[in-house]
């Protein structure tokens, strides 16, 4: 399912976003005020706050750092504007999926075992259960928040998969065409003995389903974005 996470992460660039003109900042009545939190964007009137963006950005940094050779650094650098922007795009996509899920009346959650399994992996990458809270705090996150983010993402991914997979049907003719046009030339190009169709059709079918699924999901997500009312608050 990580590839779909990549799809979600990759769906960015602001295509289809309608940006509100730079809204004059909510008046700061006095000097010396410190902003605790603020609205950063809205998706069909659902607010995304600065704190949500920060949390999502740190989460992305944490997951990337855990997969780095050598593990996460001791002192992660501050978030950049690009990272915040990317995190905002992820949150917008998540909000669209969550709203679609609510409209569809889906209430089934991600299996706790799957969430627990993912948490175990992250803990192992962080150097074990003892290290894990310390590493998470370095990225301004607490373990409960990480678990919640993970569960939410799995929930949405399951929903997206369930929505799109029934439409990703592959026919025998398409499998045969792939075998002829792609597999055989590739095998010959590598000077390999091509396996018979019957042997590889299962694998080819899986590949084609994934490709179709990806296309369908991208189209669906683009459609959700196009139909949505998304506003980004620009502050100077």
């Amino acid at each position: 399912m990580m590839w779909l996470l990549a799809v979600l992460l990759g769906l960015s660039g602001g295509a289809g976003l309608r940006r509100a003109p730079a809204a004059p900042a909510a008046a700061a009545q006095a000097r010396g005020g410190m902003v605790v939190d603020a609205v950063r964007a809205s998706v069909n009137r659902q607010a995304i706050l600065d704190s949500d963006v920060r949390q999502a950005a740190w989460y992305s940094r944490l997951v990337a750092a855990l997969h780095r050779p050598g593990g996460p650094p001791a002192a992660p650098r501050p978030l950049t504007a690009a990272q915040r922007r990317q995190a905002l795009e992820h949150l917008i996509t998540e909000a669209l999926l969550a709203q679609a899920r609510r409209r569809a009346g889906v209430t089934v959650d991600a299996p706790p075992a799957a969430v627990a399994g993912q948490m175990r992996r992250l803990r192992a990458l962080a150097g074990g259960g003892r290290n894990w809270p310390r590493v998470a705090r370095r990225y301004h996150l607490d373990p409960a928040a990480v678990r919640a983010i993970l569960a939410k993402q799995m929930r949405l991914l399951l929903f997206a998969d369930a929505h799109c997979r029934p439409r990703a049907k592959v026919t025998a003719a398409e499998v045969a065409a792939y075998y002829r046009r792609t597999y055989l030339p590739m095998a010959r190009g590598r000077r390999l003995q091509p396996a018979p169709l019957a042997l590889v059709s299962g694998r080819i079918r899986a590949i084609l389903v994934q490709q179709k699924l990806m296309r369908i999901e991208l189209q669906w997500l683009h459609g959700l974005r196009r139909r949505a009312r998304i506003q980004i608050i620009q502050r100077r």
Binding site: A23, A26, A28, G33, M34, V35, V36, V39, D50
Partner: protein, 1008 residues
């Protein structure tokens, strides 16, 4: 001002000492208290602050929210700083160019009253308007949006100023023809420029002209003409399209290219039955759709089959075969197997106990044969196997809706019914099965309304029949109750499960009410001259009231009914926001206050054919003058009219109107002032009016009438109203053609004060073109006459006071297939009373004298005859006549009975009428009673009898009522006495004259 900085993490959270929210315009800070989760006295908690921001944002009132902390003694002060959303208020368009209309362009902006205002939406609206105007030919239209923000109300009023520019003209036209392909080709066609000859020919067919103004509609028509042209030459699938025309702003011209694909030759044939070419074109949609795809061919098959079934070939089967001939012609052959021609003699039901036959017949489309001749479609009845099965399903649905879940209905066809060949009967065999009843009914989740109130709305109850249709109806009723009480988010779930008892179902209604929405306040915008309080008084929307769609629709209707506005919109501001208190936005667009209209017309009527000497009011004779011949004969008089209306007088819902007419027969000026809702009472309307008229619509006299009056209309219900009237009138007769001895008396100006009371009970389904219902009216009036002034030649004279009663009863009976039987009876009586002068009158012909009481003034008497009363008489020619001049003098009693048979003649707009009009005007009520058994006048001076006329009329339906042409034939026109010289200078002798039998009328509206 230092910019606020983002808070760095702190080891321990400070205590929040105070929490404030910057409210949206029109709201108080306290109204947001329930949404604030971060309370004063608590440590600052990021999660609580986040949730508070989310809840405030969900109200929809804010475009931006920031939570900012400021140092305060002992902790911090938390302020939720906000930027309010603005919502769309008035949307206006200035100078909409024809043919676009104001409402159309406002609608096209897509900006919805009450929704959030955004600049991109305005930009989109500009683009949409520009596209719409380009479609009308305004290629250089400039649209400038002006946004006016009302900060106090958070409303953005947007005006689109349109400078349409000149209409684009057709600069050049090019044609590209597709290379003709085989009919089964799937490759896209290739287009080549048409030859000069082809281009000339197509240009001519298109109907376009270089230099003419061009719009999308003009181009669409040209496309249609070209496609139809090819269709007439057998290329039924010809398609023409126009890629986006090129516009040259320097010359303001469009260069248009037509891409024409003629398509193959198409041949549509029928085998096995005679179908005329006209019927084939009507039934097979290929001819009008310019396409020959499978769906259209199949639709043609179905239509042909239905047409045959309508002619009695109930078992007709039509198949088709599509093929391409060797020379590339697409051939569609419909093969018909008509079967025997039969007629449906009976439709019967067996096994029904719960429903009677009358109820079941209403659910059946199969029909028995009628008495109409065979060539009329449907005369042999309606039947097909599919239709009978549909009827069976419909009957089954009726039973299921009443709890018979296991009903079975089987249609059975009996051929050679009662031993007669080609006669069929259709029998619906019904096996009802057990009826499922409701076991228990439980209602849950209701707090706003008691269970008793909800149960009163329901169609099911324990022990009553159960069906899913009934529960769906109950659901609609319950949700309507909640929506009308402001619970826009109400939902309802229905659960049904079998009860313990057999054939019983337990039903549970679970209601989720949600939060109600209430009116916070009402904001009125868009008015310019009409006073705001006038608008507000018709809204009936008040703070604290539940937001109710029905109430808003009614408010809109009331404002439209004032006639002051061309556009009225109501909507809650921020409809999807979570805020429960809603501001209701009202936006109006006023109609033009000054309305001018002019009209030119003709008055046409058939006349008496008689002429007479005119006598002036002084009594001296004047020679016959030609306009009386004109009036007396079948003639035409031009008529011009000029009307001025001023709406919204003094900013109120009052209207002043001036109507004037000028013609040979009629000169009139009427001024009226209307109060449509007197003192805010919707049921009371007051009219003040003043009239001057000089009419010659009765050949006997020309009357100058000066009238001032007050009329109060009280509408008790939609069908019942009372009318109270008080009038002062002065009527003078400068020309009157009667016994010269009567002239000095009856020709004097008369002054009257009248008071009247009328009741109108109107149950007609459509007043302008009635098909059912009734119309009843009764009017009673009392008139006080004033003594006339003495002149040099005439003494002072006291006319009669009189009471007048008039009643009308009309009923309308729909027959079959839009035939209507309409009848109307009118009865009137004038009873003089009070002191009046007696005068002695001498008949100059024979020297006899007779005494006459003061007399009802002639213009106040009843007259009849004409398009709206007795069509066997010319206008106002019925009733008593002056024994000397022979001209009608009206009467004190009236009886008219009209009967009409109205029917469709050609299509939906042209109808016909057969009519019979019976009645007359009578000297008085005694004369009426004596006349009830008389169909001929007793003598030439006693015309109290019942006249009868018959006739035929044509009707053409228009939006303002039918235009009609009536031809009336009087079966017993009167013969009446006149006195005159047989030749110039000869002695006066008594002569008899007769009215003609035949009359015709041309007018608008039904007779009654």
């Amino acid at each position: 001002m230092a910019a606020a900085q983002t808070a760095p993490p702190r080891p321990s959270a400070p205590v929040v000492r105070a929490v404030t929210v910057q409210p949206a315009p029109g709201r108080s800070a306290a109204s947001y208290a329930p949404l604030i989760e971060q309370k004063a006295g608590q440590p600052l908690n990021g999660a609580l602050v986040r949730r508070t921001i989310a809840r405030l944002f969900a109200t929809g009132e804010f475009a931006d929210i920031r939570a900012v902390e400021y140092p305060a003694p002992g902790g911090v002060r938390l302020v939720f700083q906000t930027q309010p959303n603005y919502f769309i208020g008035a949307v206006r368009v200035t100078h909409p160019p024809k043919p676009a209309t104001y409402s159309e362009l406002v609608e096209a902006t897509g900006l919805t009253l009450g929704h959030v205002f955004t600049a991109p939406a305005v930009r989109e609206a500009v683009e949409t308007l520009a596209n719409r105007l380009r479609g009308y030919g305004y290629q250089q239209a400039r649209i400038t949006p002006q946004v006016q923000m009302n900060r106090a109300e958070a409303v953005a009023n947007i005006t689109f100023a349109i400078a349409p520019g000149p209409l684009a003209r057709l600069g050049s036209v090019h044609f590209a023809l597709a290379v003709i392909q085989p009919a089964n080709s799937t490759t896209p066609p290739r287009y080549l420029p048409a030859s000069a000859r082809d281009a000339r020919s197509l240009f001519q067919v298109s109907g376009l002209r270089l230099g003419e103004t061009v719009s999308r509609a003009v181009l669409d028509k040209a496309v249609q003409r070209i496609e139809d042209h090819y269709g007439r030459h057998g290329r039924l699938t010809a398609r023409v399209h126009i890629p986006r025309p090129e516009f040259d702003p320097k010359t303001n011209t469009l260069a248009v290219q037509f891409r024409v694909n003629p398509g193959p030759l198409v041949s549509v044939q029928v085998q096995g039955s005679k179908i005329s070419a006209g019927e084939l074109r009507k039934d097979v949609p290929i001819f009008r759709e310019h396409a020959a795809d499978a769906e259209l061919i199949e639709e043609g098959r179905g239509n042909l089959q239905t047409a045959l079934q309508n002619r009695g070939y109930f078992d007709a089967r039509v198949d088709y075969h599509r093929s391409i001939t060797p020379n590339g012609v697409l051939r569609i052959l419909y093969t018909v197997r008509p079967g025997p021609q039969e007629s449906v003699q009976a439709v019967l039901f067996q096994g029904n106990h719960y429903f009677g036959e009358e109820t079941l017949e209403a659910h059946v489309a199969v029909q028995t044969a009628s008495i109409l001749p065979d060539f009329i479609p449907g005369s042999r009845g309606r039947f097909s196997q599919e239709l009978a099965q549909q009827d069976a399903d419909s009957i089954a649905g009726l039973y299921q809706a009443n709890g018979f879940a296991h009903v079975r209905v089987t249609p059975v066809v009996v051929r050679d019914y009662q031993g007669k060949p080609h006669h069929i009967a259709v029998i619906y065999r019904i096996h009802e099965g057990p009826q499922v009843l409701v076991g228990t009914l439980t209602i849950r989740g209701n707090h706003a309304f008691s269970t008793g109130i909800i149960r009163n709305l329901l169609t099911i109850a324990p022990g009553q029949p159960y069906s899913p249709v009934k529960t769906a109806t109950d659901r609609d009723s319950i949700l309507s109750l909640y929506y009308n009480a402001g619970y826009e988010q109400a939902r309802m779930q229905v659960r049904v499960h079998p009860a313990r008892a057999a054939d019983r179902m337990d039903v549970v209604y679970t209601i989720t009410e949600g939060q109600p929405e209430y009116v916070h306040r009402v904001y009125i915008g868009g008015e310019r001259f009409v006073r705001r309080e006038v608008i507000a008084s018709h809204l009936h929307l008040y703070p604290g009231q539940p937001v109710n769609q029905l109430a808003m629709i009614n408010a809109q209707r009331r404002l439209y009914n004032l006639g002051l506005f061309t556009d009225v919109r109501l909507a809650p501001q921020n409809p999807v926001g979570a805020q429960r208190q809603k501001t209701i936005l009202v936006n109006v667009h006023e109609a033009r206050r000054w309305i001018f209209s002019e009209d030119v017309g003709l008055q046409v009527q058939s006349g008496t054919g008689a002429t007479a000497n005119e006598y002036s009011s002084s009594g001296s004779s004047v020679s016959t003058i030609s306009y009386l011949q004109l009036v007396g004969g079948t003639g035409v008089s031009p008529l011009v009219g000029f009307d001025v209306t001023r709406l919204a007088m003094f900013g109120r819902d009052q209207t002043a109107t001036f109507n004037s007419r000028y013609g040979r027969l009629e000169k009139s000026a009427l001024f009226s002032y209307e109060f449509p809702q007197l003192r805010g009472h919707a049921s009371l309307a007051l009219d003040l009016n003043a009239l001057y008229s000089d009419t010659l619509n009765v050949t006997t006299f020309r009357a100058i009438r000066e009238d001032a009056g007050v009329q109060l209309n009280e509408r008790v219900s939609p069908s019942l109203r009372f009318v109270y009237n008080a009038d002062y009138r002065r009527i003078s007769l400068p020309v009157v053609i009667i016994n010269p001895q009567e002239v000095p008396l009856l020709g004097q100006p008369v002054q009257l004060v009248t008071g009247s009371y009328s009741v109108v009970l109107d149950h007609r389904d459509n007043p302008t073109d009635t098909h059912g219902g009734s119309y009843n009216t009764a009017s009673f009036s009392f008139a006080k006459s004033f003594r006339t002034a003495a002149t040099a030649t005439t003494p002072s004279f006291q006319p009669d006071n009189f009471a007048r009663l008039y009643v009308q009863n009309s009923t309308y009976y729909p027959l079959w297939r839009h035939w209507v039987l309409a009848r109307s009876t009118r009865l009137g009586d004038i009873a003089p009373f009070g002191p009046a002068d007696i005068r002695i009158v001498t008949n100059p012909a024979n020297g006899q004298t007779y005494s006459v009481f003061g007399g009802i003034p002639i213009p106040e008497r009843f007259f009849a005859g004409g398009a709206d009363t007795l069509r066997g008489f010319s206008l106002n020619q019925a009733g008593p006549r002056d024994p000397l001049t022979g001209f009608p003098v009206g009467g004190d009693a009236l009886l008219i009975n009209n009967v009409e048979l109205r029917f469709p003649l050609i299509g939906a707009n042209i109808g016909g009428v057969f009519f019979d009009d019976l009645g007359n005007v009578f000297t008085n009520f005694h004369g009426l009673l004596r006349a009830l058994t008389r169909f001929r006048e007793p003598s030439t001076t006693d015309l109290n009898y019942l006249s009868d006329d018959v006739g035929f009329g044509l009707r053409y339906k228009t939006p303002v009522g039918p235009v009609r042409l009536d031809f009336g034939y009087n079966l017993n026109p009167p013969e009446y006495q006149t006195v005159g010289a047989l030749k110039q200078g000869g002695p006066q002798v008594i002569q008899n004259a007769a009215l003609p039998h035949f009359n015709f009328y041309f007018s608008v509206g039904q007779t009654f």
